[in-house]
Amino acid sequence: MKYVLMFCETEQWEKDWEAMDQAERDAGFAKVQQWMAEHADKITHNRKLAGPETATTVRLENGEPIVTDGPFIEGKEVVSGYVEVEVADLDEALRMARTWPACPLVEIRPVLM
């Protein structure tokens, strides 16, 4: 089955990241690289997104499209990237998510098509 693992950052995570020096950040990146390499055979696609301050939302629900600045939900948790994986079942996707070494929230969704 195909799943998307959505990685979400929290306010606290962002603060902690800001407080890190370059060496600590490099170490963080290296861990993510290693995780990607370990699961390379299952990952079919992966993307890191730019921050929510770069987001633009278009609402199409009331006839005329309305363009606004920012993400569609003003929340404390922001999707910051995703990987698409091909695995046997939810348990295998869960095993991957459990070992994710970076931001503190991972949402797993099956891919419909």
Binding site: A88, D89, L90, D91, L94, R95, I108, P110
Partner: protein, 394 residues
């Protein structure tokens, strides 16, 4: 004691889960298989009371489910072919129901869904029976079940025993579901409320099944012993006029001492694995009470030690509350009260009820009444309300 309903429930419980397990394996579709079994169970509960329970209830349920499947799955040719080839008796792998249990209690399902699914799929309860047992509308349970089955299929929740490195954590989920089932049945039981379905019996049966399927897991044995130690004393919990009788006032000759002995034996064997856990420790605490000849003979210091061990494994203010109660007898009411006052369990009725008893011991009657009053405001259990009202009567 054994009403016709209880006999039916037992027969269904013995066979529904097995049938569900084989059909899920055969069809590879949890939801479709479950629908067929649920339908066969409903038919059985309608017809057996009139026609009598068949000699081979398992074969009967199987035939009804199979015919129903051939009928409703007409358009799904692959299911029809598989079903048509199916002969009685099916030979499920020995651990087929274990897979079923682990799927029903998968952590990707909500706790309510885990409980409802397990009762329905493994124990063979109908939606109506689950709704009555939990005092929720039938539509709520039906929605919960539908949503859960859809999630199993759509999210790819596997039908399999977890890998060894995940087994401990997943087993803890299963045991928690059985424990909550037991608790709900035990706490909601009362002398005047005729249970539509005995959840305590379901929980006992599930724990026994798990113990038979995974005999080397001491926490399963611990939970089974815990359930049995409570059940063995259930008769003495209510007076003839239906009032709750507290442990210290119970007639211990009404306890089932044989069941207590067997549960203690089970617990002793579990302890030999030297892998203690919360259920073994809770059972050991209850065993201290169950084996004491009288309230005064209770081994309080041992109970305090067991609570300390339990707190090491899983710290919880409610466990500390119970430890404080033991401390009252192992040490003094002053010590127990000091411990209690540090807990901050202001919204919990037992905290206030316990405080009231300690304050009364210390001769602080006015404060005791206030605490009893507070406990009464917080409890919704009728038997506990009656007990507190009695205490507050001048």
């Amino acid at each position: 004691m054994t009403s016709p309903d209880a006999v039916l429930a037992r027969v269904v419980r013995e066979h529904a889960g097995r049938l569900a397990a084989s059909l899920v394996s055969l069809l590879g579709d949890f939801s479709a298989a479950e629908d067929l079994v649920a339908d066969a169970v409903e038919t059985a509960l309608r017809r057996w009371p009139v026609e009598g329970v068949p000699d081979r209830p398992d074969a009967w349920l199987f035939t009804v489910a199979k015919n129903r499947g051939l009928d409703v799955l007409r358009r799904q040719a692959r299911y029809r072919e598989k079903l048509a080839q199916l002969q009685w008796p099916v030979q499920p792998e020995p651990d087929d129901r274990l897979r079923l249990i682990f799927t029903c209690c998968h952590p990707a399902l909500s706790r309510e869904a885990q409980i409802a699914l397990t009762l329905r799929v493994v124990c063979g309860l109908t939606t109506a029976q689950i709704a009555r047992a939990f005092l929720v509308p039938e539509t709520t349970v039906a929605q919960r079940l539908t949503r859960a089955k859809r999630k199993i299929t759509d999210a790819g929740i596997p039908y399999r025993i977890p890998a060894p490195e995940e087994l401990g954590e997943r087993l803890a989920q299963v045991l928690h579901v059985v424990y909550l089932m037991f608790n709900e049945g035990y706490l909601s039981s009362s002398a005047d409320r005729v249970q539509s379905h005995d959840l305590v019996a379901d929980a006992d049966w599930l724990a026994l099944l798990l113990h038979a399927l995974m005999p080397r897991e001491p926490e399963i044995a611990g939970l089974l012993a815990l359930i049995r130690l409570h059940r063995a004393r259930a008769h003495a919990r209510f007076s003839p006029d239906g009032n709750l009788v507290q442990l210290q006032d119970q007639d211990r000759s009404r306890w089932d001492h044989q069941m207590i002995g067997e549960a203690v034996e089970l617990l002793t064997r579990a302890a030999r694995h030297r892998r203690p856990g919360p259920y073994q420790l809770q059972a050991a605490i209850v065993a201290c009470h169950a084996e004491a000849k009288s309230w005064e003979d209770t081994d309080w210091p041992q109970i305090v030690i067991l609570y300390d061990m339990l707190l090491c494994l899983s710290p919880s203010p409610v466990t500390r509350l119970h430890r404080a109660i033991a401390l009252r007898y192992a040490a003094s009411a002053e010590k127990a009260l000091a411990e209690l006052d540090s807990l901050g369990l202001d919204r919990y009725h037992l905290y206030h009820a316990t405080r009231a008893e300690l304050l009364r011991d210390l001769g602080r009657d006015d404060e005791a009444r206030e605490a009893d009053q507070r406990a009464l405001e917080l409890t919704v259990n009728p038997a506990e309300q009656a007990l507190l009202e009695q205490r507050l009567r001048p």
